[in-house]
Every structure is written in C-alpha cells, then in structure tokens.
Symmetry: C2
Subunit: 109 residues, 2 copies
C-alpha cells in the first residue's frame, strides 16, 4: 500500500519554492509545496486542470483571477481550470502546502 | 474566490459515516468524511477513479487490496483505480478524513 507522511515531506531552498511529489497518475498529481519567506508560485493558468491548495503550515496570499486573500492553516483554496492563480509567502515564516492538480498535465497529449 | 476551512467542515451521525463536499468539478471531488467509532466505508472498487485519503483527526484502518494498515493524523493513503479499498474506524475516537477522488464518477458517461 502506498502511503506518505505529509509532515516529514518537506524540503526548502533559499533559491526557489520547492515541490515534492507524493503521488501521481494520469488523473492527478499530489505535491507538497515549500515556500521560504518571500518566495512565490507566480500567477499562471492551466486551460483544463483544476487545482486545490491546502495550507499545512504558515500563511500565504492566494490569488485567483481578480481576488487575493491571506489564508492560514487548514484553509483549502480552489483554483478552477482557466483561472489565473498563484500563491505568495509574504510572511516571515515558512509556508507549506498540500496541492492536488487534476488531470495531470504531464500526461496530456 | 472559493475557499473552505477543513476544521469547521465536520458532521457526525450515529447512523452512518457522513460525507461533506468541499469542492467538485468534472475532474474531481474533494470531501470530508466523518466516522464515529465503529463506522466504516466498506471495501469497494472504482474502475477508473483514483482516490487519496488524508487523516485530519483520529486514526483509521485503511484497506487497499490485500493490505491493511492503521494510520493516524497527517498520513495520506493512495487507492488507485481498480483497487479494492475502504476505511474503518476501529478506535474509540472520531475519525475525520480529507478525500480526493479523480475523475469525478458523478460526471462519467
């Protein structure tokens, strides 16, 4: 059986936001994102993929289209296919996220 | 922007396991499952859908095909398409899970 501990899956770099893959199939990927203070996932869009962020640790500014909001632990954010979305760590602490994206763009033709 | 708090999304019933939907599209659904002690999601299979469980609170016995394992908070379990999978709350405390399933079987033709 495949299972993972989301607390021990963490890797930070002063260079840029880090992504750690937990599970992946054609249908989805499930990653941990680790952002040092000041780091971000720049606003971008996927034509056909939906994304969910869950804040595991810290606080982040989430952007979806024309809205932005600062959200802390235990908050989930939905970035639907076609939306311009991203996340910035404007805090002075580390930000760790669980991220689901579906379908998996790495398998799209 | 659509966002939810996974701590406040909880609903228990002595009758059976409760499901609370957080987000849903054609690509996926994202639910909270709430299991009182003794309750279960019976072992079942989906031909084309992958499922991820994340233990938010408590501890559960997860079954995937011929394996079963007791897992506590912050553990994620992957039940791939075609696998026989389920979860039982054999503990004396409540069990709360975050569940992703993809693609969404409610939209399959």
């Amino acid at each position: 059986m495949e299972y993972k501990d989301i607390l021990t899956a963490a890797k930070y770099s002063t260079e840029k936001m880090q992504k750690i893959n937990l599970f992946e199939t054609r249908n989805f990927f499930c990653d941990i994102y680790c952002l040092e203070p000041g780091q971000e996932q720049k606003v971008h869009a996927h034509h056909t993929e939906d994304k969910i962020y869950l804040v595991l640790e810290g606080s982040g500014e989430f952007i979806v289209d024309d809205e932005s909001i600062e959200l802390g632990e235990n908050k989930t954010v939905f970035a639907p296919a076609g939306s311009n979305h991203g996340v910035r760590n404007r805090s002075e602490s580390r930000l760790r996220l669980l991220v689901f994206m579906t379908p998996n763009p790495n398998f799209s033709s």
